[in-house]
Symmetry: C2
Subunit: 576 residues, 2 copies
């Protein structure tokens, strides 16, 4: 297996030549320039490449195990976590008022990319902790914040999100866990939750679960769900967290991938918890977590694709099979074969386009939180809301497909565990499912995000893209993306006012069309960047590939969408 | 997990109303009508559903293991094999002169579908045995045939194909195994082979390896490779096969899937073998095996997709999540949601289209072997050669994608091992790789098959399809497929005389375009079948879906192909 090389040069290129990082920092009052940002990413990359990548393969083989009710993570994980915390990585972009470093979210996003690339199972520990912190910071009262937040931000304690039950996944209206008020202002939480990432571990420290449950007087449906903070350890008389709460790991889920990650079945047996936010308003608090997590999950797809690309490109340059096109007798490296290049370029065009688009979205998130002008904050907030399902679903779909193509480059060796390529495929697969399946993301985009502000948000985004493309002149990628954008606008207009079935029938294809245009926009920006280094040359070459080989797919997608819902709804349910 | 229901009604429909089975049998001198064929398939389906499907999940968990040099297959496999052999299934379509039942190949093909659907790891035992039998029957001398063939045809003994070495996969010119003549007319074969499916097992009986190796005087490259029959047991003085040959299992490959299948690293240490066919002409003999295997492997993709569809459709009809489009408050089965239907229909439109196309190809194989008219035999042979890479690559690519979509229908449960959906994904993945990667298939189609007879074979196929579509009138599927065929013809013409790089750049997209048109042709035939049963109604509904939601992809594919090789070859190898 080849080592993992963090894409620092690409980050630096994006920061300085594509995304307008320094200006964005000035607008959001952050005292960070591109040099500092790149230095931070370099340091983060070293942690990922040198500490986390080397334990990824073994982590898959050993997996997390449950022994006498205690979770044992694979060898090396607890040590790596201690180093990760000691270096301050969990607090990178958290707010300074809770002990965070207050660095821009784009650095967090790219750290997440490198974490997923190096060791996706590991990356879920800080990822879920961060999501839990966001919900607590946004919705919990001051006392809960004072007790829990700074220790979670630092990584001394970790977090977990306990939402799903066996009968309630996408549809949380069906959830059954109960919370009954106790005498001390707390609640006794009872129920079983499944698929709980990082639900328990052996890193030491407390584990803070955010649990969705119903109060006794709760209305039916999603409007009767509340969120509770339920720690693994409760405070003793001296205020030290030493008392085991009434919660336990029922089992570890046996999964397709992310074996090192302890995904728990959790049993809460009257566990003590505290209400986070208003009664019956748990869904709003949950979405605070989910939105943060959805960007991270999208970036996981990108991260795995980038790592798989590196492995496949390395292998393709070394593996000798077949003859060159000019008929030379000696075997050539398979990188010379057009079909191998096609697969590698498919991955690369996605990875670099998505890295740029993810970075752009992250800068909008900083603007949404920190821009001095309220109108700009609102505008940026709309753009993040619009792009979030695109990043989550398209990046994880392309990420999985990229891992599959990278595996294919290895031929038979790609199917053998020791080479590590099949692990990328198994690990990447979950990102299409968790934090809202990609079907749910697509419905979110078409059913909720397109109609935002009467369509003004998506129209604003298209106008922004059109301006950029117009300014980019007559490069191949600019022209192709302009055509694709025109098609996307037509299709968007055709979906205005679509009913649930029409929206559902179009949603998946529409989201992919949207993602292709958005990545084409980023490729246009990248191709327009001035410079004649090998990186600039490669950017222009891959932009051409994207324009000529990937963008044409928009025609097929638009054709499918135009067919509407009739053929999808025609067959009776029992004829399936 | 739901039970597996063999698609007997669909087979019967195809035999009687779509593929002209009775006429094909008359032309090939086989005394088999559709009723008998359906009865055989029904019996085969019972074996697959009742004996092999129930041990599939456990087979994955236990896996085959190597203990003290001996392979142990999972519990139940050896018993199932004995029953499978006792019922005569290994000999179904083999030639009567070697003890075969001489039934038409289409029954074998559909048995292979049901085997892959029920238990892909198991299906590789008879599959590889059959491939080895084909090579022996076509190339070995009478003495070898007399000794080995009938016992392999019956399934008393099994076969394995030992081609790949760690440095020689796609490119067999690089292989290093040696064969040195011994004093008795045999050879001492030495070398290591990897990825050897069914290389050893505990079913009892001999295991006949066909091994590619070089003779001492062999020219370099592929023209210096010979094929040797190397049995696990050699005859003792009494002619009983009790003497262990100098070959051993070095390891079992640790794989992504097909865990129950013992995929061996084989060491031959001067093992005794006999030449099959002419010296240095091993590649021709190998292709006899490979061509038979490639159809089977394609059908594996179809089989897994069909089984995964059944599971996903069953789950979608039972799983309650979300509300119906009419706003009813009670949760509905997820089969009501358009995006779930879209995924299921994608799978089904592939499965039934591919089942028909595979069946059509199988009937051509029977015509190629048994038609009384030599010109008809040659014509059919060309069609089989043309369609083989399409069946192998498109069916396994769509098969894998189908398994992934079926897994997606299960949401989070799809990622959990016990539900079995992730096993389909892991098992299906290998079919895109083995027996020649799908990239190799695509190059075979564009580089070798299109130019056959100066293009006359592919033109003949297109003319046949065009005639059929013309006769089908103005149904939606007929019209859409006619348009798609016109596009395919244009693209085909554009590839005439393409160089290696241009062919390689186009190949994968071209193969998929070819497959879409071919399946559209079959959907046109199916939609035109007269009848008003629920099956007929469903065929017309799914044909509409295929026409309106899947066929539009041809536009994107044609667009990518039109871009040529420039953007693929532009980047220097070291810039990847």
């Amino acid at each position: 297996m080849f080592s993992y090389v963090p894409p620092i040069d690409d980050y630096r290129f994006l920061l300085t030549q594509v995304l307008g990082f320094d200006r964005a920092m000035a607008e959001t009052g952050k005292d960070v320039d591109a040099d500092l940002a790149a230095a931070v990413l370099e340091e983060a990359g070293r942690m990922c490449a040198e500490r986390l990548h080397p334990i990824n393969r073994h982590g898959d083989e050993e997996g997390s195990r449950l022994i006498d009710g205690e979770v044992h993570t694979p060898e090396g994980f607890a040590d790596a976590w201690r180093d990760f915390v000691a270096a301050g990585w969990p607090s990178l972009a958290a707010a300074p008022e809770y002990g965070g470093q207050g660095l821009p979210f784009i650095l967090q996003l790219w750290l997440d990319e490198m974490l997923a690339a190096a060791n996706m199972s590991f990356g879920l520990f800080p990822g879920l902790t961060r999501g839990a912190c966001e919900a607590i910071a946004a919705h919990a009262d001051d006392s809960l914040k004072a007790t829990y937040l700074s220790r979670m931000v630092s990584g001394e304690w970790t977090g977990a999100m306990a939402l799903t039950e066996s009968g309630a996944g996408t549809d949380l209206a069906l959830l059954k866990a109960k919370a009954v008020p106790d005498a001390d202002g707390g609640y006794a939480v009872t129920g079983q939750k499944i698929f709980i990432s990082s639900g328990d571990h052996d890193f030491g420290g407390n584990i803070i679960h955010l649990v969705l449950a119903r109060l006794p007087d709760a209305p039916a449906g999603v409007k009767g769900i509340s969120l509770f903070l339920v720690p693994k350890y409760l405070p003793d008389a001296d205020g030290n967290f030493t008392v085991r709460n009434a919660m336990s790991v029922g089992a570890l889920e046996k999964k397709m991938g992310i074996h090192a990650q302890p995904t728990c079945v959790m049993n809460y047996d009257g566990a003590t918890g505290w209400l986070v936010g208003e009664p019956h308003r748990g869904l709003a608090a949950m979405f605070t977590m989910m939105n943060a997590e959805r960007l991270m999950v999208g970036i996981q797809g990108l991260g795995i694709a980038g790592a798989a690309y590196q492995q496949a490109a390395g292998y393709a340059k070394e593996r000798l099979q077949g003859r060159s096109a000019d008929g030379t007798r000696e075997p050539v490296a398979i990188i010379e074969h057009a079909d191998v290049r096609r697969m590698l370029l498919n991955i690369r065009a996605f990875v670099e386009g998505a890295r740029a688009l993810g970075g752009w979205t992250a800068l909008q998130l900083d603007r949404a939180h920190h821009h001095e002008d309220a109108a700009e904050r609102a505008k940026a907030d709309g753009l993040v809301a619009l792009l979030t399902p695109v990043v989550k679903a398209a990046f994880t779909d392309y990420g999985f497909e990229s891992a599959v193509q990278a595996q294919q480059v290895f031929g038979g060796h790609g199917y053998i565990r020791e080479w590590g390529m099949e692990q990328y495929v198994r690990d990447a697969r979950i990102a299409q499912i968790y934090e809202g399946t990609n079907g749910v993301q697509a419905m979110d985009l078409v059913g909720r995000k397109l109609p935002m502000a009467g369509g003004a948000v998506v129209e604003g985004f298209f106008a922004l893209v059109a301006d950029d493309l117009g300014a980019a002149g007559a490069s191949g990628i600019a022209v192709s993306t302009r055509e694709a954008l025109a098609l996307l606008r037509e299709v968007t207009a055709s979906l205005r006012g679509a009913g649930v079935e029409a929206a559902g029938a179009a949603a998946a294809d529409y989201l992919r069309l949207f993602a292709l245009v958005s990545m084409g926009w980023m490729w246009t920006r990248m191709a327009a960047a001035e410079g004649d280094t090998p990186l600039h040359d490669a950017k222009r070459a891959v932009a051409d590939f994207f324009a000529q080989r990937m963008l044409p797919q928009v025609r097929g997608l638009a054709g499918s969408i135009a067919a509407g819902e009739a053929t999808i709804m025609a067959l009776a349910a029992d004829a399936f």
